[in-house]
Symmetry: C2
Subunit: 262 residues, 2 copies
């Protein structure tokens, strides 16, 4: 695994410009005028396609490009002090990758495609000069970095204080909300990552994740086949994530009385 081969090509032409991109309102061009949009487009390099398992960048690699996901999914991971791999985030269309590389001019984490995916290469040097010329652009980029900080800090909270079931519910809800923001169904989507990936993201063991998914299914909160997910009771999933019924949930299945708490 972790092969480095990448599919480069199909780059030319104008049908892949930001103006036509599905994630225009989420990605870098967010809130820019038509005129500024053109300048952003000019700063963006070529597209790059990756197959499932391909590595987009790895720790120690010199920072040349940042990346924006055009389609597909990624995960970014690192090693803890013990050498164990953990996952810092899952990325989908419109998300930026590589922001943690700016500190030391080299990437600090590994980014791996979870499926056939495409990214826009954003040469960091060009981005810098663009930001120097366009305060609006700079501000937006700063916001994007700040959002990354917010996300990471939230993750710290999850792993510190929350139980396994609360963490998993949080992850499902997080994915759901992000798909909703992108115009997809918040109730029905595929989990692109393996159980092990989820576990490494949540700070759990894959067995625990598997067991919890089973329990959620038994409780009628979700329907799940392979990696195809249906969220049947979003409210209750939110209640679990919020830590309601800390004792309740243990094993009493079917009572469903907790939904009255909302």
């Amino acid at each position: 695994m972790l092969t480095q081969q990448t599919y480069r090509g199909d780059v030319g032409a104008g049908d892949t410009k930001c103006g036509q991109c599905a994630y225009r309102s989420l990605c870098l061009p967010f809130g820019l005028s038509e005129r500024d949009l053109v300048r952003v487009e000019s700063a963006i390099g070529c597209r790059r396609r990756l197959a499932r398992g391909d590595v987009l960048f790895y720790p120690g690699q010199e920072l040349v490009n940042l990346y924006a996901v055009r389609f597909g999914h990624f995960l970014t991971c690192r090693d803890d002090p013990r050498g164990e791999r953990y996952i810092t985030a899952f990325q989908m269309g419109g998300d930026l990758l590589g922001l943690d590389a700016i500190a030391n001019a080299e990437h600090a984490s590994t980014a791996i495609a979870l499926e056939y995916s495409e990214v826009c290469e954003i040469p960091y040097a060009r981005l810098q000069s663009l930001m120097a010329e366009m305060p609006r652009m700079m501000e937006h980029f700063l916001q994007a970095m700040s959002e990354e900080i917010l996300r990471d800090q939230s993750a710290i909270g999850f792993f510190g204080g929350l139980r396994a079931e609360e963490r998993l519910a949080s992850l499902l809800l997080n994915l759901s909300a992000r798909y909703a923001m992108r115009g997809f169904s918040p109730r029905r989507f595929a989990l692109r990552m393996s159980r092990d990936d989820m576990a490494r993201y949540l700070g759990l063991q894959l067995e625990t994740v598997s067991r919890l998914l089973t329990r959620f299914r038994e409780l009628g909160l979700i329907r799940l086949e392979r990696r195809e997910l249906d969220i049947l009771d979003l409210r209750q999933l939110e209640a679990i994530a919020a830590g309601a019924m800390r004792d309740d949930l243990s094993h009493d299945q079917g009572s469903h009385h907790a939904s009255a708490c909302l």
Copy 2:
């Protein structure tokens, strides 16, 4: 607690400029020429002093200033989905506060002084225009934000995969390294935060932290009286943080054979 009263004053004059600041090489002015330094100084607002327990900013507060710690210590905290408070970081001299506020133009966390402290107010609007004029300045600020991302992501790793003893060792070593970077002793310093603060940072219970500190003391790794810390065996503390002797450490005190592993 959490009183809002702050001691404002003693602002005037030039003896508090960046050029003379002890943390000049760590803080915003890092790597700037003398000429640029003056411009940075002009952008920095007044100093502000806080007593132990004072709140510097709180969630929802409009982003007006970022802050740099001149002396003293702070913690920044938030509430997890369950309403439980957790601590995202401890800040000391030269550290920046408030970077997570840029995303939504309002602060997302609470910053509390751990002792009598002073900060520089950095009006964000002025900082923005300054960055637009000085690419060097912008780059450095982006690096600072990226570093924050790196720190937060490392924290995620700690809480996901590490044991209680490994987390605590990591915290002590982290503080040690940061004091060393500031010219203080890496082996002898005071823990400015309570056991409960440490616990809320590490995702543990305060009882667990207390027990572990006791064990570290019994193992001869540290000397600890009240909050005064002496690190006696830095190597072994590093070994623990790295997860060496996962089984070893359990209860066999005094054998010290693990130091041979290095």
